[in-house]
């Protein structure tokens, strides 16, 4: 890594201009990837807590009694497809195709909202089946983990819609394509966390 950075730096030295970046890479993008790296430790901790406690149901329901795999499979599929629409938005933004960018951003947000809606439905169903937040260690750790993920998706939806509004009114400070790309990175990260949650929490029985 050191060598990569330094070679880039040398190549850059010849470049005039003081808005310099030693690596030639964008500050925002470096910061975003680092942030996503730190998020791995956040979700890792929540997933580990769930793994430790998934079998401790007390008098409440067991995971296999409440999970509705077909339903969750559909909402997982929806979130996965939102990654496709997101990457198409990023690709359109790089081509400066504003119409497509706007369209894909809105579709992505809608898919995300569908996922969150599904989660709300799922939580309600669990609650009605006697699995409240504090029913058991399993239920608390499940709700904290998937709830955190849901909050991340919700924040993503807000960012997507805000971004769309800002693009439309030409209010994005800095590079438009890069801003779309950064929100895209966040969105994809939320998706890959769900890829893990879907397998480890839903598909592998306790």
């Amino acid at each position: 890594m050191w060598f990569t950075l330094d070679n880039l730096a040398t190549a850059h030295d010849t470049h005039e201009g003081a808005a310099h970046s030693s690596t030639g890479l964008s500050n925002v993008k470096l910061g975003m990837w680092l942030f996503l790296g730190t998020e791995c430790l956040l979700f890792g901790g929540l997933i580990s807590t769930y793994m430790l406690y998934r079998g401790r149901v007390g008098t409440g329901p067991r995971p296999s009694q409440v999970f509705d795999i077909p339903f969750t499979s559909v909402s997982s599929f929806v979130l996965l497809m939102s990654s496709l629409t997101m990457v198409l938005a990023v690709s359109a933004a790089h081509k400066r195709d504003d119409r497509s960018t706007n369209l894909w951003l809105v579709i992505t947000a809608l898919l995300g909202a569908t996922f969150v809606g599904g989660q709300v439905y799922e939580f309600t169903a669990f609650y009605n089946e006697g699995m409240g937040f504090s029913t058991s260690l399993f239920s608390s750790s499940f709700f904290v983990l998937t709830g955190f993920h849901g909050v991340h998706v919700t924040v993503g939806i807000i960012m997507l819609l805000a971004l769309r509004g800002m693009l439309k009114n030409n209010k994005v400070p800095g590079s438009r394509a890069e801003t779309v790309e950064m929100i895209g990175l966040y969105w994809h990260f939320v998706d890959i966390v769900w890829i893990i949650i879907f397998t480890l929490i839903y598909l592998i029985p306790a």
């Binding site: 201009g17 990837w33 790296g37 580990s48 990654s83 890069e178 598909l203």
Partner: protein, 102 residues
């Protein structure tokens, strides 16, 4: 934030075409279908390793193609995978002390 310094067309040179992205999405969808099928079909002893491998493949595909890590500077991979590997390492070690893995 010297975002203006980065040429806007840069990333598309390395990304996939629309058709390419759709192809990746189709593969991801197919793997997801296979994953879900483990719920209905008995995979026997292959169940756990198959699910974990499919999970990793999906993860890496999204990160590499949708998040462009495969085409981007290695520094980004280095930052992200450091966090990921650290997380897997410390949390597996912690779970191991609880005799989680048998």
């Amino acid at each position: 934030m010297n975002t203006t310094a980065a040429p806007e067309s840069h990333a598309t040179e390395h990304g996939l075409s629309t058709a390419g992205y759709v192809r990746i999405a189709l593969i991801l969808a197919a793997i997801t279908g296979l994953e879900v099928s483990t719920y209905y079909v008995d995979f026997g002893r292959l169940f756990l390793p198959a699910l974990l491998i499919m999970m990793v493949i999906k993860f890496v595909m999204v990160v590499s193609y949708f998040m462009h890590l495969k085409f981007d500077n290695k520094v980004f991979s280095w930052l992200f995978y450091t966090g990921l590997i650290l997380a897997v390492g410390v949390y597996c070690a912690a779970l191991a002390t609880f005799k989680f893995f048998g």
